[in-house]
């Protein structure tokens, strides 16, 4: 069981080694980039999980249910959009946050809105896009992204089963 879990990792390392043997230059680049992505994730994720642990202990479930639960109406949707847009960090940091939101009683649809906003409405990113690609490009994208994020979240919410709406907490010792 344990062994099977690490099969993909072993397979990927094997591919890396084959590349290193066949094309040493590309192989070295693969290892350098793997190293730097490991470093990036290893530096970003510890504070994210630390904050999550704190939120988990301190934020009452009733508050989350009231603000982001199934009965939170359009206010909950708006808050999810704002929370996602105010975020910092890559999208993979949002997934563990989503799991805590789920355990605290946020609705599945609002969690998806949060993920959507995080992926493409993050404020620093939008400002950077404005500077680089101009207002017509950036503002048009933003204007259609907002309704699209909500629409896609609603659609996925309707398509999944009740069991899929509960995100697992992923504890280390199971």
């Amino acid at each position: 069981m344990k062994l099977r879990r690490f099969l993909p990792v072993a397979l990927l390392v094997a591919i890396d080694l084959v590349i290193l043997a066949m094309a040493p230059d590309t192989g070295r680049t693969v290892f350098r980039l793997t190293g730097s992505s490991l470093l990036e994730m290893a530096s970003i994720l510890p504070p994210v999980f630390l904050l999550l642990g704190l939120l988990d202990v301190w934020v009452p479930r009733e508050t989350v249910i009231r603000l982001l639960g199934t009965a939170s109406t359009w206010r909950g949707t708006l808050l999810s959009l704002l929370l996602g847009a105010a975020a910092a960090g890559p999208l993979y940091a949002a997934f563990p946050i989503a799991a805590v939101m789920s355990r605290k009683g946020a609705s599945y649809r609002n969690i998806l809105v949060f993920i959507g906003a995080w992926s493409t409405l993050k404020l620093p990113l939008v400002l950077f896009e404005l500077a680089n690609l101009g207002s017509a490009f950036a503002l048009t994208r933003m204007a259609i992204n907002v309704p699209a994020i909500v629409l896609m979240a609603t659609l996925i919410d309707r398509l999944v089963t009740p069991a899929e709406r509960e995100l697992p907490s992923l504890e280390a010792n199971d």
Binding site: F6, P8, R32, S37, P47, T120
Partner: protein
């Protein structure tokens, strides 16, 4: 910058929490360690995939591919690159801007940026751990299809503004 802010926020939160209630803080640290440990196997896969994909699809290579394709073929090509790569925004936007200046189409650039941000093939193993296989495929699939519609609208608006 982002990372520094995260550390400041986390340490500040930890200090305040410790001062308020030591037992609760211990519980929080335990939770943090456990959930971090829970995601490590999936994280290892993501890290290895990122290294592999970024080495094979360097920014220079992406630039050449995008210059080569135009029309629908170019859009499909750039959308696939956007979906599988994981380039941070501060690299992707200047790259997109310089490609536009060198004559790449607005629709191609828009579909690239949209898929880059919303679709994550290499991070899917991690997403599946939390959301499950079906919801992950749904979210990424819908975002992928939506990126084409969004690109068409952005291209139309940008075209109208310039004219």
């Amino acid at each position: 910058m982002t990372t520094a802010l995260l550390y400041i926020a986390a340490l500040l939160g930890l200090a305040i929490s410790w001062q308020q209630d030591r037992d609760k803080t211990r519980a929080a640290l335990q939770r943090a360690a456990k959930s971090f440990g829970g995601i490590l196997p999936a994280l290892a896969i993501v890290v290895l995939l990122v290294g592999l994909v970024l080495a094979l699809l360097s920014p220079e290579f992406i630039a050449r591919l995008m210059g080569a394709g135009s029309g629908w073929v170019g859009m499909v090509l750039t959308s696939l690159i956007g979906a599988v790569t994981l380039i941070p925004g501060f690299v992707a936007f200047p790259l997109a801007a310089s490609l536009l200046q060198r004559g790449a189409g607005v629709a191609q650039i828009a579909v690239f940026l949209s898929t880059l941000m919303m679709v994550g093939v290499v991070t899917a193993p991690m997403e599946m751990k939390y959301f499950g296989r079906r919801a992950t495929l749904l979210r990424n699939g819908l975002a992928y299809l939506y990126s084409f519609g969004a690109a068409a609208v952005v291209a139309a608006v940008v075209g109208a503004v310039i004219r």
